[in-house]
């Protein structure tokens, strides 16, 4: 005899089991996100404490009194507005550069058949294996001979020279776009430049936005290149400005953290707005929906 659904005890019902499963999953996810958010919370809470409270032991989880003045004071310790504009300029130009250049190169690797394409692609990828500090001094000498030290050129031009990782990301994404589009366009007499501009760019928007976010973030947070190439404090970037709070003996944690929160904000906002594309863009195996 088959038991009727109503005869089952409550904990044996399907809906109960599913719900438990869901609750457990959610609990794990919640725990995970709390763990991930802890450092961020710590940063924000430290940014609102007084220096005396930061030194207290045991540390306080929530600031005793919220010192928003830390933000204003930190901002006023140096020309942060100027440094912010400098950083923004560099980040925007490198972002534009790396989106355009990398996608054009990726288009070549993905859609144009030529002899030695795969070998060339492997060589491009192999550049990812070279640790950047190995090329540090030679690169510095090169830019110095060109007279580019103390200008933004060493920070910007490399973005226009392509990056293996972005090329790879975009190529994989472009591979999923059917060749028919391109063949049709070729038939109508369009050049590669035109196909890239009118067909590939619009179709690869999620991947392009991903590359844009990555490169904006990288330029925004870069410390080493500005450090090496800029000699004039008026040309400094935010990350270099942050270092003023870190001395050889003492660290001004309250300023360091409040300024860090402010510097973090633009990238968080950018990600917030573009996260939908970002998810699609990093998923290189996804197909087109066109």
């Amino acid at each position: 005899m088959i038991k009727a659904e109503s005869d089952l005890k409550f904990h044996q019902t399907k809906s109960f089991q599913e719900r438990t499963k869901k609750t457990i999953t959610l609990a794990f996810l919640l725990l995970g996100s709390i763990l991930l958010l802890m450092p961020l919370w710590w940063m924000i809470s430290t940014s609102l404490k007084s220096p005396e409270e930061i030194m207290q032991h045991p540390p306080t989880f929530i600031p005793e009194s919220f010192r928003f003045s830390n933000y204003i004071e930190a901002w006023q310790t140096g020309p942060f507005a100027r440094w912010g504009l400098n950083t923004l300029f560099i980040a925007i130009v490198t972002t534009i550069g790396s989106v355009l250049v990398n996608s054009y190169v990726a288009y070549g690797f993905a859609k144009i058949h030529f002899k030695g394409r795969n070998t060339l692609f492997v060589i491009v990828l192999a550049t990812m294996l070279i640790p950047s500090f190995v090329t540090l001094v030679p690169q510095y000498m090169l830019f110095s001979k060109l007279g580019w030290v103390n200008t933004y050129l060493p920070l910007i031009i490399p973005a226009f020279a392509g990056s293996a990782f972005y090329i790879f990301l975009l190529r994989q994404f472009m591979m999923t776009i059917p060749d028919e589009y391109i063949e049709a366009a070729r038939m109508d007499g369009a050049s590669h430049l035109r196909i890239w501009w009118h067909i590939m760019l619009p179709l690869t928007k999620p991947a392009l936005i991903t590359v844009a976010l990555f490169s904006f973030n990288a330029a925004w947070n870069d410390l080493l290149s500005p450090l090496l190439y800029l000699n004039d404090e008026n040309l400094y970037t935010l990350q270099l400005g942050l270092q003023t709070f870190k001395g050889s003996v003492q660290v001004q944690w309250h300023y360091l953290m409040s300024m860090s929160v402010m510097i973090l904000l633009p990238t968080v906002i950018l990600f917030f707005f573009f996260q939908r594309y970002f998810m699609e863009g990093t998923n290189v195996s996804s197909g087109t929906k066109g």
Partner: protein, 432 residues
């Protein structure tokens, strides 16, 4: 087709515009003179904090006003990274004219042709104004390659309140290792197996295992005059003594304390979790800025046995002209000013550093008062026992071979003797 050409043309134009826009600012710096014909000296330091920056900028400003041939331009470059940047700039041949660098490794840079020989650039009597133990490290083949600016030395800080609680005389700090240990035990506050307060632990603060070993060994470093002095009986004794602390307090308790304070935001001495602490004199500012009313005392580093010497270790910073500077003569003039009594005294009064100029250091002391003066005086007094162990030319990286063995010994993985034997053998292989 036409549109394509147009598009590429626009892109090209935009690109070249960008190039010219970005290169606009910088270039004129290279052989720069100001409008009124002054030579511009590029001076890099890592003093960018709210407290240090105004001090160095005032000194630079005073110098600029004092004469009309040179204009010093001070640039802040982040701590630590400043030397990476300097190496790249020296390699490329366009360094700054004056840089603040590590005093212990001057000879090393001289050997690698990264710094200018100053023997013909600075006046002969400059040396007589500065502490001899700070002058020694700037010499390479008997010629100076830098001028010492500041130095530091270690001081034993102790919590007077804790001393009273434990029934110790707050005016009688420990003077020998045995006393230090005896006091530390009395200052411990235990709750079951755990510590609420640790009286003292020799490796916290800024006096490491190596410093204790050299303290026992008559102030001798690990490499003296190019000869290894790693595996000596006194050094082994000291390492065993350090191991003893770990055994008594327990590795777990030590690690728990270290983890608790690992962020560096809070200091265990300032929060009264540790009662005695060895650090540089400038550590006093952390106690002051904590806003706590803490009664502290200061003392020399305890000696191993009565009469063996309160051997101490110090470091410091020197002013250097990187090899390839365009204006070494003018740079040297600025360096001489930085080493003058006036500039050095101002620095000492504002930052509590031990400065290199003897008169400046002594006259700064007369102008301080209260606890500030007590700490500063102690640091000055400790200078006579302070050794500055320079980076040996034959074994520049000896620490990378020494430290792993010391660590292994401290956590009890091997005996002190074994560790030092192994370290000496490893270091020997490094010889250039």
């Amino acid at each position: 087709m036409k549109r394509n050409v147009k598009l590429s043309f626009i892109l090209l134009l935009a690109f070249s515009l960008l190039l010219s826009a970005c290169s606009g600012g910088g270039k004129k710096e290279a052989n720069a003179t100001t409008k009124d014909g002054k030579v511009i000296i590029d001076f890099w330091s890592f003093w960018g904090s709210e407290t240090r920056r105004p001090v160095i900028e005032k000194i630079v400003d005073d110098f600029n006003k004092s004469q009309d041939e040179i204009e010093v331009k001070h640039t802040f470059v982040p701590w630590g990274d400043i030397w990476t940047k300097n190496l790249a700039a020296v390699a490329a041949g366009n360094p700054a004219d004056v840089i603040v660098n590590d005093l212990a490794s001057v000879a090393h840079r001289a050997d690698n042709q990264q710094a200018e020989d100053l023997s013909k650039l600075i006046s002969k009597d400059l040396q007589s104004n500065l502490y001899p133990h700070l002058w020694e490290p700037v010499l390479y083949k008997d010629k100076p390659y830098a001028v010492p600016f500041t130095s530091d030395t270690r001081v034993l800080f102790y919590n007077k309140e804790a001393f009273k609680e434990a029934g110790l005389d707050p005016e009688k700090p420990p003077t020998t290792w045995a006393e230090l240990e005896e006091y530390a035990k009395k200052l411990d506050v235990k709750k079951g197996k755990k510590y609420d307060r640790i009286g003292f632990y020799p490796l916290w603060g800024s006096f490491g295992a190596g410093s204790w070993m050299s303290n026992a060994d008559g102030g001798k470093g690990f490499i003296e005059d190019g000869k290894l002095a790693v595996n000596t009986p006194k050094k082994a004794e000291a390492l065993e003594w350090v191991q003893g602390w770990n055994k008594r307090i327990g590795d777990k308790n030590v690690q728990a304390f270290e983890a608790e304070f690992s962020s560096g935001q809070t200091n265990p001495f300032v929060t009264e979790k540790v009662a005695m602490w060895i650090d540089i004199a400038g550590f006093y500012t952390q106690i002051r800025d904590s806003g706590k009313e803490m009664e502290i005392g200061v003392a020399p580093i305890p000696e191993q046995e009565t009469g063996s010497g309160h051997w101490n270790e110090g470091g410091g910073f020197a002013l250097e002209i990187p090899k390839g500077s365009k204006h070494p003569k003018e740079a040297a003039k600025f360096i001489e000013y930085m080493a003058s009594e006036q500039a050095q005294k101002y620095w000492a009064l504002k930052n509590y550093d031990n400065v290199a100029n003897v008169k400046a250091a002594e006259s700064a002391a007369t102008e301080m008062k209260d606890i500030e003066k007590t700490v500063y005086d102690q640091a000055l007094a400790n200078l006579k026992d302070t050794k500055l162990h320079t980076v040996p030319l034959e074994y520049p990286d000896y620490k990378t071979r020494l430290d792993p063995q010391l660590e292994a010994a401290i956590i009890g993985k091997m005996s002190a003797k074994e560790a030092l034997e192994k370290a000496e053998k490893d270091i020997e292989e490094l010889k250039k």
